[in-house]
Symmetry: D2
Subunit: 261 residues, 4 copies
């Protein structure tokens, strides 16, 4: 059978990324409390294609994924990138895997246990010169407006917001620990199950900790850059404003100047 | 050229709905303040297909739409249903058109003008026995939790919510007037542009008007059923809770028992 | 602490549905090949609220869910509805759980194994008079246009489509078996991993089995109504047309007239 | 009234982007055939915030938008960036506006007129050193697989795909002309309304023009880089594969090396 993809191409245009996008796949990731956690990822996997070749071999991307039997960790993720690059005879490979991650949390007063969902992602890129691996973590929080609090008789407008941290790092870390840091910076954390005493506690806590999106990204940056394991950070906050039908957004990028040492 | 769609079908299974789904189309609707408003609808249009025919003629749906040149009103919408039924030789037709509708609002204290977006929809169905036409209107609002307010030292959790009203009616009405009613029932309305004095006003207003989703759907129902033009109502409220990562939801259905008279 | 929700309400408007919407939750469902499968559901859970009460108790919905420790089956799903009705002192309860379900399939010629994702849902409702439980299953397929094939020199336009079956039943059945029936009705099934010989086989197979959306919903209805376990069916097909930027859609509803016997 | 946002901040963390995200706004853009076209944009507008200031003034973003009264063109878009930078006393500003754009097209044989929707976006960034403005255009097309065609008895799998071009340019150009180029590169263009003779023509045309995503991005790049008005290009193609439940994707980036001269 003729292999159309391997035929030469004479347009002399190299392709920067080619591959499969948005394939859903059940994976197993490491979990601090329970050792492992089953979840479902949305995966996009690409390689470059030199100008001489007509097409890539799409089925090999899925084969590389299948070979892992769904076990994906911070440590073996880079081996997927290596293998894609080799199997597809490419110079670079790029993979993004996005997945929900669940953590059991106790409510602040009642201690009632429930599960919170955090969207996480692994983003990797390998080329001839460098390897790059980032972890992204999105954390829903409560934010309470300092300006509204300052001006108003009682109360202040507040809302659900979402903080997304993307980071580069030197060695393994637990997603759970970064989530703890982010939640400690918000006006208040968010829970799936709250009793009345918890709701009172969180309302009071949010009122005592007013935060603009600007404050939130700065606070999270200040705390995370204090951990020498993190060499690069992007911190984003989006507020689903309760007084508007649009979002407020802020973003900080930070790089450790000593990172190369 | 053979007309495959018109061939007979011997499986003896009538098709309840067949047609085109999610076609986007620019339309012009009536506007209380400015006479007309250009917007963009997402349209789904269906007819039934008797058991004897193999297929419908999909291109005719688009032709019926094109014939209107985008002018769609509460009054001529039903004529689209009639025309679809006739052109497709069907016994019933169903159309849904969903579109954003913009209204200029003045902020409550500063009077600053800005545009608010409300998602609206026309839902029509005609069959041999009856004609049915509904209008749906979605209104973003602020809701403040009565329970949180009652228990907490200062403040109360609040959030963006969305109220969706679907209604049947006797004669033409302005979408603008229903939006006014809905906004008056919420803890506070939502705006695109607010100055500091407006933000103070709305924070105070929301604190003075705490509302569960249950309160909100009841309040909206109570006010709208007082208008004898409306013969049937569905009122839904969804709160994007600021203390949870999920929504609270409530729904009331109400029918005027005198509607048939 | 005052219980605001339990206070009386004098507007005399009963609430048809109140509860939590779109909470994401990891669940374990039964799997024909592997006994159980871990997946992630999006859950909405509602009860009615009599006109005398101001509010429901949102935290109890989550507690009922937590009590199952994520084990959800066709058999115990109804017990969630019972428990919600009881715990919330309601007359009716409604639950929808939507989740991706993965099945390992072998490619038609090479036999290469890979995972296919099918979106499934459980929809339950209990009130004083009746219990109703439906299962919904969405299956991506290939459809090839009979009209295009008939007219054209070579080839025919084809595309990805999605068939969604919602059914009521007498006793336990495997989702896998309904998926097999649906895939056998399409122009061709869809796979995550195909080698060249598989691609040739599926292209030829689709060309030999041209199907309008109308044909597809009739064929699936014809086969499923032959299984006396199914008492009610809704069969929908949506084609993401390759020659248009909108979808073609068809739907059949069928009820077994002997179902009540 | 105290201006909380203008208070100093001592964490010494500059904010790269702060502003409003995803506000929907009706705009009027230029149209080659009809002079102007009313559409609805989703806008995100940001500035940087020096480390010394606590917060930005969110209402000013909306005021700048309002001042245009919705008239947005390739030419005045940059003035929005300038004004944001000035009004917010910032060193940089970033704006993205995404909007559907409709063009009336004649079917290839019957000549039947209908409207096609193309998603477009303006992306602008100004800082102390440079101004950058990009236009993005997304075009739905038909793609037919060369490999499937080569191997199969008759026919070949095909599907809807979407080509997205993002470009930098020297002087004004019409979006319509870039869409023409993209559609000419695909296996076939996509239409809202087709008669049988058109469907035959397009099926035959697609069969005569098989294209991988790799071919498509190369072909579009080859044609657009021939226009000396374009100084930088990103060309992406995504196929909603008819034989898979995931997408195939390819991307080329090209820069005119003579652009600086």
């Amino acid at each position: 059978m003729i292999d159309v993809q391997s035929q030469p191409d004479d347009r002399r245009i190299p392709i920067k990324k080619v591959g499969v996008k948005d394939i859903r796949y059940p994976i197993i990731v490491r979990d601090k409390a329970r050792d492992t956690q089953a979840t479902i990822a949305s995966c996009s996997m690409y390689v470059d294609l030199p100008q001489d070749f007509k097409g890539t071999h799409m089925s090999r991307f899925i084969e590389v994924l299948n070979r892992r039997h769904g076990r994906i960790t911070l440590n073996n993720f880079v081996s997927i990138l290596d293998e894609l690059k080799e199997e597809l005879e490419a110079k670079s490979s790029h993979v993004v895997m996005e997945f929900p991650y669940f953590i059991e949390k106790g409510a602040p007063v009642s201690g009632e246990r429930s599960l919170m969902e955090y969207n996480c992602r692994y983003i990797g890129e390998i080329n001839h010169a460098s390897k790059n691996f980032q972890v992204g973590i999105s954390v829903p929080v409560t934010t309470l407006c300092p300006c509204s609090r300052e001006m108003s008789e009682r109360g202040a407008h507040n809302q659900r917001g979402i903080v997304t941290v993307t980071l580069e790092f030197k060695k393994f870390f637990w997603i759970e620990d970064v989530i703890d840091v982010i939640e400690s910076c918000a006006s208040a954390p968010v829970y799936a199950l709250l009793k009345r005493e918890d709701e009172k506690y969180l309302t009071d806590r949010a009122y005592e900790h007013p935060m603009f999106v600007e404050d939130l990204v700065r606070e999270v940056t200040r705390k995370l850059r204090g951990d020498s394991n993190f060499t690069w950070l992007k911190v984003e906050a989006e507020n689903f404003e309760s007084i508007h039908n649009h979002s407020a957004y802020a973003m900080v990028e930070w790089e450790n100047d000593d990172a190369g040492e």
